[in-house]
């Protein structure tokens, strides 16, 4: 939250995304009427937002640290396939989930080994690990969807079908995770260093911080939550292992995280923003569907939203930086 407590106007800017969210809800409530704002639909929106939010929680910090992780979608599909395969092999669901999460952690370790230890560029590294994860996801069941038998009776499945005070459990879990993540981001060394790293890696290293560890943690968390998200989707949506589910998340995941960068820490990916971003996107999908628009309209609107947000944030950032000796081209 630092660097942004400068003027009253900025404080308002931090909440602009929240305004967008309210606006989206208001607009669709007006256009679609009761169908949109009825509890049932709101809960569905929360459920969808919660699932994707869990999936990109870790990604948020990788992007926050100014690195890239293009592997999260494929890690999610790989985890979903491992999970499905183990369940069909009569493994205990909790055990299967644990194993799939470990697969995620494994990919995170591989990525961070290459990025931190061997100083690979993170984008190309994660392209490579994502290729590998996607390949494994396909090899596990010859590239086909693997439906899970007898899932309905599993306790884990039932658990994900439950609600708490009327809220879908996925959303409640997401809220819990994000609250914890917010504390980690704002109150601990990890969060403190992530954003310092993003700005000046050398400064952090020279200050004696083991920046490698921070990055490792970020990459491992990104893959871990991708795997977690993959399992959540298996349990709440797919009911099957999906070797190519990754393509559903790639663009949406990045859009959410970058949209979120407009909240709280102007221009930097952060968990509060990501959560709001996920809500905005889910509300958008729901509302546009009610208005009879397919995915392409949503695509254009998301793009416009994103670019407007970026433009506003950039303009504001420029205002707060003292004019001084800015060169003409800048």
């Amino acid at each position: 939250m630092k660097g942004t407590r400068i003027s009253g106007r900025l404080i308002r800017m931090e909440y602009a995304l929240l305004m967008v969210l309210l606006l989206v809800f208001l607009l669709f409530s007006l256009l679609c009427g009761q169908a949109f704002y009825q509890v049932y639909n709101l809960m569905n929106i929360l459920k969808a937002a919660g699932s994707i939010a869990i999936l990109v929680l870790g990604l948020t910090w990788v992007i926050g640290a100014n690195e890239m992780d293009a592997s999260f979608p494929e890690v999610a599909s790989c985890a979903s396939m491992v999970f499905a395969l183990l369940l069909n092999g009569k493994t205990d669901p909790m055990l299967a989930a644990g194993a799939s999460l470990l697969v995620g952690v494994g990919f995170g370790c591989l990525t961070s080994l290459l990025v931190v230890r061997f100083r690979f560029h993170s984008l190309i590294t994660t392209i490579a690990t994502s290729t590998i994860a996607g390949a494994i996801a396909n090899i596990l069941y010859n590239g086909s969807v693997l439906s899970i038998k007898g899932l309905n009776s599993a306790a884990l499945y039932k658990f994900f079908g439950r609600t708490v005070l009327g809220f879908p459990i996925v959303f409640v879990i997401a809220i819990g995770l994000y609250a914890a993540a917010f504390l980690v981001q704002e109150k601990t060394r990890f969060g403190h260093y992530v954003y310092a790293l993003a700005e000046n890696r050398q400064a952090v290293t020279e200050a004696g911080v083991k920046s490698g560890r921070v990055l490792t943690a970020a990459f491992v968390l990104s893959s871990f939550f991708a795997a977690f998200g993959g399992i959540v989707y298996v349990l709440t949506v797919y009911k099957s292992g999906q070797p190519s589910m990754g393509s559903s998340f790639f663009l949406n995941g990045f859009t959410i995280v970058f949209l979120g960068a407009m909240a709280l820490r102007l221009g930097k990916a952060n968990v509060v923003g990501t959560f709001i971003g996920a809500l905005v996107l889910s509300a958008l999908t729901s509302g546009l569907t009610m208005l009879g628009s397919g995915f392409a309209v949503g695509q254009v609107i998301k793009g416009l939203l994103l670019i407007m947000g970026v433009a506003v944030v950039t303009a504001y950032r420029r205002k707060i930086v003292p004019k001084g000796s800015k060169m003409k081209y800048e």
Partner: protein
């Protein structure tokens, strides 16, 4: 001499890796190195190379472009639609390329002039371009007039036994090599990518260079999309959706081997990935197995280039040496 060697070592190691891949496939499938298959590989790699060279310009100025693979979809649809209206393919192609340049200049304007952050802005612009292309075509395949207009000549026509896209690729490579690495104009791209303020004070027109890089990227991506549309024999809005990863892969392999974004490196990177994919196809192994190998070869390729870099970047290497 030593310095010469240490600069060339990654290239040599990369060549060895490439050789290993080629020899392996040649042993598995004796026709792998037949002239027909080489031509075939050249043809398949041509579109990746063309688009990736465009991306090379953007990477050279120190930016990223996540829009080209989506905006070129728009161009493919536009060309297909014009062909379906009964246009001659040549003006239709020109319109498609112009649209690519236009989308590139939108990204360039946003990043270069408005100074918006590159990745997020280009994601947004790409989404809009793709969404519009999709809305325009309604996602349908556009097939009318394709056979009659002989658009497949663009991808099939043989000159001296070699299909046209290979010539287009060669022309793009030569021109880009000249422009980026030999001519005085190319210096501006590297200068902007290095230190922007210093480049500006050294007389480089920074903003124009940024815009130009994005325009080149958008244009070349549209050329690739048009060739792919012609090869496919129908207009499909998703034509470019799979260009993103191969292009970035190609550019970064080239960068790790040659230590800077460059045309030859990009082309070699693309060729390595295509050789693996083609090799596996020719021995009937599904794509996901070949992807597993591609992923590991990719890591290996960069690892090899680091063998030497570690010595050249003492700051971290020394620290790590101290720790172990």
């Amino acid at each position: 001499m030593k310095r010469y060697l240490s600069d060339r070592l990654p290239v040599v190691l990369f060549a060895l890796l490439f050789l290993a891949v080629v020899v392996t496939f040649q042993c598995l499938q004796p026709t792998f190195l037949s002239s027909a298959n080489i031509v075939n590989m050249m043809q398949s790699v041509s579109t990746t190379v063309i688009a990736a060279i465009g991306l090379t310009f953007v990477i050279a100025i120190g930016r990223s472009d996540i829009s080209f693979y989506m905006s070129c979809c728009f161009c493919g649809v536009l060309m297909a639609w014009l062909v379906s209206l009964g246009w001659h393919p040549v003006p239709a192609i020109l319109c498609g390329v112009a649209a690519g340049a236009a989308w590139g200049s939108v990204s360039g304007f946003a990043v270069g002039k408005l100074k918006l952050p590159d990745i997020i802005t280009t994601i947004a612009i790409g989404s809009i371009a793709f969404g519009l292309g999709y809305l325009f075509s309604d996602g349908a395949f556009i097939m009318q007039n394709f056979i009659e207009a002989k658009t497949h000549y663009l991808s099939q026509y043989l000159v001296l036994g070699i299909p046209l896209p290979v010539y287009v690729m060669a022309a793009v490579m030569v021109l880009s090599y000249y422009l980026l690495e030999r001519s005085r104009f190319g210096r501006a791209f590297y200068a902007v990518g290095a230190t922007e303020k210093a480049a500006y004070l050294s007389g480089v027109n920074v903003n124009r260079t940024i815009v130009l890089a994005y325009v080149i990227c958008g244009t070349l991506a549209s050329v690739a999309a048009l060739i792919m549309t012609a090869r496919q024999g129908y207009g499909n809005v998703k034509i470019g959706m799979n260009l993103l990863m191969p292009c970035f892969t190609a550019v970064y392999i080239g960068m790790s081997v040659f230590k800077r974004p460059c045309v030859v490196g990009t082309a070699l990177g693309a060729l390595l990935v295509t050789a693996i994919a083609t090799g596996f196809t020719s021995i009937n192994i599904p794509f996901y197995v070949s992807n597993l190998v591609t992923g590991f070869v990719l890591i290996l390729a960069i690892l090899l280039s680091k063998v030497v870099v570690r010595e050249k970047q003492p700051r971290m290497a020394a620290k790590e040496a101290g720790r172990t």
